[in-house]
Assembly symmetry: C2
Homo-oligomer: 373 residues x 2
């Protein structure tokens, strides 16, 4: 076997035990989604287009369209044909017991000024996702896309589809006009808690549409800088949730941070714990060290996992971010920076592996244990 | 000796060998600075005030005015009286061979729209600093405040005072309308290189005056969140310098990052090195891994040093940020979050201690070796 074959074989290796993948993207088929919209919006879309601001209009990506080059998605047959490809070439191939779709539509809709239209499109995406994907395969779980421009309409959408057991969380883009701890969003968290659903933040839409520039120093020029800025905005949200006292108001709320990296969380918590000791009189409602709020209320997905220069730093950094309870594996299929379940993480002992690849997500989302133990 | 006395004694302990402190703030006395300004601006100030937007108008600080509560600065006698206090109660007390003043005026002047007035005030601050402080004690070194609103005027100011051997760097606030790698600033870097001066960025003015909101998700509500946002903006500048190719244009330029923390640099470099491998075709002028540009071109001051939850993480994290060559000790005197030279850092071996507390700064700023070895 030459090295190319070896590398191919190792790429195709399945995890021995089934896993939960916490960040998967499904293509949405516009002509199918359209049928879920009221006639007025169908006509507007026909005349003016979808009104979806996009990263591609401002920045490059890793590949054209952002997808892996070694996938051959079917060009015809719509969602039914897509689903078949997805089942065989992804869920079966990687031994995925549950795959969490992080939205069944575009986050762009959360960054347009017209909140009523955004609400209608979110409902259409959610209904489309339930009909065409979630109800077709019990392995596929979904995230409720909300018109976050309007927290009251968002709460209505959460109440509308939140009782569907296949919808396991509420999802928003990382790009935001205000940090997510701001009281503006409270109706969303009330609805999350009422429906027992985590609130998930997925990198996307930073600096796009209604959002401000992606950094506190304005626009950056290149995609690689833009990717680095995403972690910063996620850090802003993390601190905002804690210091605005969101978890004092909503003690059962859980927040999932998706695709913004993981290891930066350690120095951030060191900084926040230290500053909290010195400055806690300014935010007296924050009762515990910030790292405790993180441990209890946040979960973080692994992809794109950072590679410390010294491999010996991996496990101490994992410990510093409470990987055993807070880290959940994700591939980001089908995107270009896909993390393979068998190749992307360092060698872990069996217990830690099982926490990261299965149990942390199963507990958070209330998913049953493996069918084949 | 009771514990209070012990703690007082340990607070007052001097470093055995003299040190270089890379972040010191001197009070500026408005009535004295005024005499260095043209008459038109003296009259405008008399009528309208100084036009200095301030953090205090938006956020709290650690103490009123931001200073340590155990200092008793003289209330009368202006800069001469201040200088005496500063020499006895700071430079002598802490065995400081050189202390780098990070500006002799307010960074606020860099965030007002009127660039001509900003240029005049920067010149006045610089001249005041040279006359009243730098020329009075050979231990005190200064930083050139520039009207960064206008890079051409900034270059003129650097050329005007840059040949004074007591001015050891050019300084700007971290808050910025554009990341500092942007080509807008090139005339400043040309002047830095021409005068053999490092370019220093000191946290301040994020979200204030002409600057955008301090995060990519808009305004934050509390000072502790604001402090966390500062590191994010510094991270934006770091990535911007590298990916805009500033060091390809100015191969001898050095950049000093002041008061934004240190340990967050490690996961940022891991992320950037990894992404650079995947995305380098998009920025082909970036020839080496980002961590190499960091090692060669950046220096970072220690205060406020992060405390890892596990003390055993300190040295591996120091190694990950190249502390032996890139970290320079700073107290941030007289601010409330002052880091003591004898108490704030973990126990270091003698060689590493000497690099961080003396040699790295001596090499960067071209300062002579200790008088008493």
């Amino acid at each position: 076997m030459d090295t190319t074959d070896q590398s191919q074989a190792s790429k195709n290796r399945k995890p021995k035990r089934s896993i939960i993948d916490c960040d998967i993207h499904a293509g949405s088929f516009s002509d199918e989604v359209l049928t879920y919209l009221p006639r007025i919006y169908r006509e507007q879309i026909k005349t003016f287009g979808w009104r979806l601001p996009s990263q591609n209009a401002m920045y490059l990506n890793g590949t054209g369209g952002g997808a892996k080059q070694d996938e051959n998605f079917p060009k015809e047959g719509g969602s039914a044909s897509y689903l078949k490809y997805f089942q065989t070439n992804f869920l079966d191939k990687h031994n995925i017991e549950y795959g969490i779709l992080t939205g069944t539509g575009s986050y762009s809709i959360q960054t347009i000024p017209d909140a009523d239209y955004a609400a209608a499109v979110c409902s259409a995406y959610n209904d489309y996702g339930i009909d065409k994907l979630l109800s077709q395969d019990e392995r596929i779980k979904g995230s409720i896309l909300i018109p976050k421009q309007d927290p009251i309409l968002s709460a209505k959408e959460i109440d509308r589809v939140g009782s569907n057991p296949d919808m396991v969380q509420v999802i928003v883009a990382n790009g935001a006009e205000k940090p997510y701890g701001n009281r503006f969003y409270n109706p969303i968290y009330e609805a999350c808690v009422r429906n027992n659903l985590p609130f998930a933040i997925h990198v996307s839409m930073e600096g796009i549409g209604t959002n401000p520039a992606p950094t506190g120093a304005g626009q950056v020029s290149h995609y690689i800088e833009y990717r680095a800025a995403r972690a910063q905005i996620m850090a802003t949200h993390l601190a905002s949730f804690i210091f605005e006292g969101v978890f004092e108001k909503f003690p059962t709320l859980k927040v999932v941070m998706i695709e913004a990296g993981t290891l930066w969380i350690a120095p951030l918590l060191w900084r926040l714990d230290q500053d909290w000791k010195a400055l806690r009189s300014q935010t007296p409602w924050v009762k515990e060290p910030p790292s405790e709020y993180y441990r209890k209320h946040f979960r973080v997905t692994s992809q794109p996992i950072e590679m410390p220069h010294k491999p010996t730093m991996f496990l101490p950094m994992f410990e510093a971010i409470n990987a055993d309870t807070n880290l959940m594996f994700a591939t980001d299929f089908p995107h270009w920076d896909f993390d393979s379940p068998t190749l992307s993480l360092p060698k872990l002992d069996e217990e830690l592996w099982d926490r990261i690849f299965y149990q942390n997500a199963a507990e958070l989302y209330g998913l049953p244990q493996r069918r084949n133990q």
